[in-house]
């Protein structure tokens, strides 16, 4: 009896030791396997401006409120139009800078005079909520210099970006963290 128990004890010890080896092997091997597949820099999410269809979902899909997605202006692409379709609402009664004539629902687009007949349009990112109304208008009627970007001082870099999941045109992609923005003026289709 005594011996039997001893035997079973050693058997259990053997199983336990073997199990330890079996379990420990992959966990030690994994870093080796993944060494090639590991990147110290990591990834962040960004919107590819040439894929974006300005569907307005970035505003609500982001886990942050207000959204980490903001509009920016690619100045070298901008026409500096007087009648900026991103700034002025379509069908406004008068073409002036009165609030009811502006397209931006939160008044985040600032218009400053440069010289006749050019105006510079700047986005106040503290106000912008990423609704992309101006982006759509600029794309449809203007040069398409207004575009959306995920601002990384606000983005919490979720493992699965909620906007990426919802985005109908798969425009939200992982980019290397050392180059976190996709500037529209630098990349051409």
């Amino acid at each position: 009896m005594e011996e039997q128990q001893k035997n079973s004890g050693s058997r259990r010890d053997f199983v336990r030791k073997a199990g330890k080896l079996i379990v420990a092997a992959p966990i030690l091997a994994l870093p080796v396997i993944l060494a090639k597949k590991t990147d110290a820099k990591g990834y962040v999410w960004q919107i590819d401006p040439y894929k974006c269809t300005s569907c307005e979902q970035c505003k609500t899909a982001c886990v942050m409120t207000p959204s980490a997605v903001k509009c920016t202006n690619a100045y070298p692409m901008c026409g500096y139009c007087d009648f900026c379709p991103g700034f002025l609402r379509q069908g406004a009664k008068t073409y002036d800078t009165a609030a009811e004539n502006q397209l931006c629902p939160v008044g985040a687009i600032k218009r400053t005079f440069v010289e006749e007949p050019y105006f510079e349009y700047t986005i106040d990112e503290n106000l912008c909520d990423g609704c992309s109304k101006c982006v759509k208008a600029c794309y449809n009627f203007g040069n398409g210099s207004l575009y959306l970007q995920i601002m990384h001082n606000l983005c919490v870099n979720c493992n699965q970006c909620r906007i990426a999941r919802i985005c109908p045109s798969d425009a939200v992609v992982r980019v290397p963290a050392d180059e976190p923005y996709m500037r529209k003026e630098l990349k051409k289709v």
């Binding site: 009896m1 128990q5 079973s8 259990r12 336990r16 199990g19 330890k20 379990v23 420990a24 966990i27 994994l30 870093p31 993944l34 597949k37 590991t38 990147d39 110290a40 820099k41 990591g42 990834y43 962040v44 269809t53 569907c55 979902q57 886990v63 942050m64 409120t65 920016t72 202006n73 100045y75 070298p76 692409m77 026409g79 500096y80 440069v114 010289e115 050019y118 510079e120 700047t122 009627f141 203007g142 040069n143 398409g144 970007q149 601002m151 990384h152 001082n153 983005c155 919490v156 870099n157 979720c158 493992n159 699965q160 999941r165 109908p168 045109s169 798969d170 992982r174 963290a177 976190p180």
Partner: protein, 428 residues
């Protein structure tokens, strides 16, 4: 004939001319309004894009993780201090939970792992890899100390579990199978680039951020409410990383013990564990019976490969249905439905698809490709599930003979709640 040959010479130039015209048309389309030529000294402002906090901080998280795990191991194994573990929980909840807002976490890193292993285009960030491996290494050394108080999801439940309602053993066994399925599916979905299931249904991240869709908040709040009575419901019945912790902890070098010295079989700790993770010691007369009976478990041993094969076949056949979680497959099905049955596709994805000008054959081919990947991966998930179930059954038939009360190394969270029930004290 001769004339035509002469003409041949000019064809390249004509093509070039056409190309140039086409290019200018393209350019004009893109730039409706020419870039202004300013007379003054206006320069284009450069937009200052701000960066996220530096990568340095992510290694800081790793250092905090290692520190917290070391302290938790020491508290659980050496110091045997429940109070200390509560403090560690509180710290983890504050740091990994509310300060880091639940990201980066070991539970979710399982998916990064799977994505990196099976996809060429994604490389795993080093901190994520460390967050995946370090808690498992610690599980191998000293049991589930990560669950005890370092995981913010565990910590918030640990701190809110006030009452102790026992779940019937059979129900507990059935519910404890859910995490295996969850893990299998999460790995499969991540490997096929379809979903990050674990992150999407993370229960407490909404509470950590105090900002989330209301469904997430409700889910988290419900779990916390249930957790007041049935402690740690997420850890026990959902957590996919807990499955790995469970497996690794079974083979741990050292583990928390209920008693600091020798067990007196006083049975006082029997009701001490809210997770039913205390294995009772066997009465002397049972010990002999158990020794003789082991042959009865042979059929169960043979059943393991059968179950694995059966689940592999089952999952293989489920693969097309499972692939429905992939957005591209969903879109392809919607478009096909529109084509074949005339039901108009109205989702935003289909609108974007029509705008983008992708061809149908492209989309359907992609769908088949994704389903193929599911077919490749699903049987392995099936094998994993079958093996776990089979081994689980087999384990039920084998009686370990215990002379002491000891924690079930797989299920014990090393929370130290049982310490105070043990009357054996060591006098220093």
């Amino acid at each position: 004939m001769k004339k035509l040959k002469k003409f041949n010479k000019y064809i390249p130039y004509i093509v070039l001319g056409l190309l140039l015209i086409w290019h200018s048309v393209l350019y004009a389309q893109e730039q409706r309004f020419p870039r202004p030529e300013f007379e003054g000294d206006y320069t284009f402002p450069t937009h200052q894009f701000l960066n996220q906090r530096g990568p340095m901080w992510e290694y800081m998280d790793v250092a905090v993780l290692i520190g917290a795990l070391t302290v938790a191991s020491w508290l659980a194994l050496k110091k045997r201090s429940r109070q200390g573990l509560i403090w560690v929980s509180l710290f983890s909840l504050a740091y990994f939970g509310f300060y880091r807002q639940g990201c980066i976490c070991a539970v979710g890193s399982v998916q990064n792992m799977s994505l990196a292993l099976f996809n060429e285009s994604y490389a795993m960030p080093l901190p994520a890899l460390l967050f995946f491996t370090i808690p498992l290494l610690f599980a191998l050394l000293s049991g589930r100390v990560f669950c005890a108080g370092v995981c913010p999801l565990g910590a918030i439940q640990e701190l809110t579990g006030f009452r102790k309602v026992r779940v019937p053993k059979n129900l507990e066994r059935v519910l404890a199978m859910i995490p295996f399925v969850y893990l299998g599916l999460a790995v499969l979905f991540a490997a096929t680039e379809s979903q990050f299931l674990i992150c999407r249904y993370d229960p407490f991240v909404g509470i950590f951020r105090i900002d989330a869709p209301y469904t997430m908040i409700i889910f988290g709040a419900l779990l916390l409410l249930v957790g007041i009575f049935v402690n740690r419901p997420y850890c026990r019945y959902l957590c996919p990383y807990g499955v790995l912790q469970n497996i690794f902890s079974r083979f741990s070098v050292k583990h928390l013990t209920i008693t600091p010295a020798e067990c007196r079989n006083c049975r006082l700790c029997e009701s001490g564990c809210p997770y039913d993770a205390i294995l009772q010691s066997d009465p002397v007369k049972d010990r002999e019976i158990a020794e003789k009976k082991w042959k009865g478990s042979l059929p169960y041993l043979l059943m393991i490969p059968v179950l694995a094969a059966a689940f592999a076949v089952l999952l293989y056949n489920l693969a097309p249905a499972l692939s429905g979680v992939n957005d591209n497959v969903k879109l392809a099905r919607e478009i096909r439905l529109e084509k074949e049955q005339g039901i108009k596709a109205v989702s935003k994805a289909s609108v974007a698809y029509y705008e983008s000008g992708r061809t149908e054959s492209e989309l359907f081919e992609q769908e088949q490709q994704i389903i193929g990947r599911f077919r490749k991966g699903a049987p392995w998930v099936g094998i994993f599930l079958g093996l776990s179930l089979g081994i689980g059954f087999f384990r039920l038939t084998v009686r370990d003979i215990r002379t002491d009360y000891e924690p079930d190394r797989g299920r014990c969270y090393s929370c130290g709640k049982c310490f105070k029930f043990c009357p054996v004290k060591i006098n220093n």
